[in-house]
């Protein structure tokens, strides 16, 4: 092997959500520096929320992300309802889960087909992939569109939806709208089954890694809009206890926040959810998984794509189950009586655990807010994965190959900084 020095420095990632940089220095066959810096602007949103009334929060936090606004809305609603001692009705709980299924469906379909699959099939973009795999791309677009329409059913629109509120929803869909959606979900189910089989057949790098899985866990259902926070190292806590175990720290020369659980990096997201909640899969999804022969829990990070595909199936199954029992409620939202207090909420965004905490005064005005998104929780894990994956890949590979593998590793997490094609520029310093 020729000894060489390689420096991959991306001062600012382009075509990504937010700003970030990857610094990678390899000297004489060893990684000297590897740092993924996400220059998230300091959490302005948490400051924006201070002084706002509680009912404004849901629409404000929806603006944090264009792909997973429902996750932000649902974590915030849960936290504020906990602060007010408000228990939403069974109808609201069921429809929130349906609403959230729409987000998983559109976000996962987009990531699997348009962003991640080209990496594993050898294309630089979905446009190139579409020429050879048109059916797969069409399927992805249709599932994404269905997810958007499911969001619209309860949210009024698919981008930054406006239908949710503390206590429930501003409006209940008419039975005819629900029937039409049910019909479309049932028609899409075979597509989701095909997708799972197709994803199982993709050739992935096989490099099992050691990491801590963290996700919500519900007493009976696959985790989505509520549950306790658990890990595969014995953590089992309420959402209120999050801050006693998880810590966010700043790193020098970066505004990024790194989360750790008991001083260790950890994984949130579809693979962690699946690893921790196999016994909570709907029966049909579990049967489909077993048929593929892929065993979980699984430590191959690249199977995140497969986990997303399976969660698309879960989302459709769950939406069908809940909408089949749909009835028009007397009230689509509970009356809210603010009171002073602190409330926490946690839900499973497509990318993983999303935790909120609000301190509210007696008038329902926000005094303090804290939001911990999945991407910052995964950041230390992504770095550890990059280190491990690039060494396993071979540091003597060409610069282009190293860059592509680094991109593939990062995109695999579907980070919200994130996921575009070719966001790494490479500068090679040979001495």
């Amino acid at each position: 092997m020729t000894e060489r020095s390689v420096s991959i420095h991306v001062p600012a990632m382009t075509r990504v959500e937010g700003e970030g940089a990857l610094r990678l220095q390899i000297e004489n066959g060893d990684i000297q520096t590897l740092a993924l810096d996400i220059f998230e602007p300091p959490r302005y949103f948490e400051k924006f929320l201070e002084g706002r009334r509680y009912h404004e929060v849901i629409d404000i936090v929806a603006r944090i992300c264009g792909i997973c606004p429902i996750a932000y809305q649902m974590s915030a609603a849960q936290a504020l309802e906990n602060a007010f001692g408000l228990e939403p009705s069974d109808w609201v709980k069921a429809m929130r889960r349906v609403f959230y299924c729409g987000e998983w469906l559109q976000s996962h379909a987009l990531h699997v087909h348009l962003l991640a699959a080209p990496d594993f099939l050898g294309f630089d973009s979905v446009v190139g992939m579409a020429a050879e795999y048109p059916d797969a791309v069409r399927r992805g677009l249709q599932l994404q569109g269905l997810g958007n329409d499911l969001i619209r059913l309860l949210g009024g629109r698919s981008v930054h939806p406006v239908g949710a509120c503390v206590g429930g929803f501003h409006r209940a869909p008419e039975q005819a709208e629900v029937d039409d959606m049910l019909n479309r979900l049932n028609k899409a189910l075979p597509e989701a089954e095909t997708l799972v089989e197709w994803s199982a057949g993709l050739t992935m790098p096989d490099d099992p890694q050691d990491f801590v899985n963290v996700s919500l866990r519900h007493e009976s259902d696959y985790p989505l809009e509520q549950g306790r926070i658990v890990s595969d190292e014995g953590l089992d806590i309420t959402v209120d206890e999050y801050e006693q175990h998880f810590v966010e720290t700043h790193r020098a020369q970066s505004t990024a926040l790194f989360s750790s659980l008991h001083d260790k990096p950890y994984l949130v997201g579809p693979l962690a959810r699946l690893n921790l909640n196999l016994d909570r899969l709907p029966t049909a999804s579990r049967a489909l998984l077993d048929k593929t022969g892929i065993r979980f829990p699984n430590r191959n990070m690249f199977l995140s794509l497969f986990a997303r595909a399976l969660e698309i199936h879960v989302a459709i199954i769950e939406a069908i189950r809940l909408l089949e029992n749909y009835t028009l409620p007397d009230e689509s939202a509970a009356a809210v009586t603010p009171r002073a207090g602190i409330g926490c909420g946690a839900t499973e965004a497509p990318r993983g655990l999303l935790w909120h905490r609000y301190e509210v005064d007696a008038h329902g005005t926000i005094r303090a807010a804290r939001i911990v998104p999945p991407t910052s929780q995964n950041q230390a894990r992504i770095e550890a994965d990059l280190h491990r994956s690039l060494v396993a890949f071979g540091l003597d590979q060409s610069d282009d190959a190293l860059r592509l593998r680094a991109e593939t590793v990062i995109r695999n997490y579907d980070p919200c900084i994130s996921c575009a094609t070719h966001f790494l520029k490479i500068n090679v310093d040979r001495r």
């Binding site: 792909i67 987009l110 446009v127 579409a130 791309v137 981008v159 994130s418 996921c419 575009a420 094609t421």
Partner: protein, 151 residues
């Protein structure tokens, strides 16, 4: 079937395409479908299914004074300034994707409503008026096309 699609977002002048669709609401014709879409990204391709003539209307930054109408009758060849965004494809990439998938409609026209330096708070009168004027033009145009087909 002719489908008129107004692209946009709730932000000021970017609502131009939506305003056009609203202007068409009182005019319902058989064989014509009008929809307003909120930043659909690649999912726009789904709206090309089962239609042979699609008219896209979107606000265009720059491109002259606010209210100017730009017609592009071969939008699949567009080269736009933006490229792949983080989570979505832009319009040019989306049309390229549709072309690759073979789902482009037989006829596809893009009308841009110039907004100059966009006002992201308010839909300005000059832009709204242009959208209404284009709506009237499209009504006449689609009537004529349908008459030609049936005639």
């Amino acid at each position: 079937m002719i489908r008129i699609i107004g692209l946009g977002s709730p932000f000021g002048d970017d609502r131009a395409g939506w305003h056009l669709i609203r202007s068409l609401e009182d005019w319902v014709a058989a064989g014509v479908d009008a929809v307003a879409l909120d930043r659909p990204g690649a999912a726009l391709v789904n709206w090309f299914a089962d239609v042979d003539n699609v008219i896209l209307v979107d606000a265009v930054a720059g491109e002259g004074p606010p209210g100017r109408i730009i017609e592009i009758d071969d939008p699949a060849t567009l080269q736009l300034a933006g490229s792949f965004s983080s989570h979505q494809l832009d319009l040019a990439a989306t049309l390229k994707l549709a072309q690759t998938l073979g789902t482009l409609p037989r006829k596809l026209t893009l009308y841009g409503i110039a907004v100059g330096q966009p006002d992201l708070e308010t839909l300005r009168d000059s832009v709204a008026t242009a959208a209404e004027r284009l709506a009237v033009q499209l009504i006449h145009q689609t009537k004529a096309e349908q008459a030609a087909i049936s005639g």
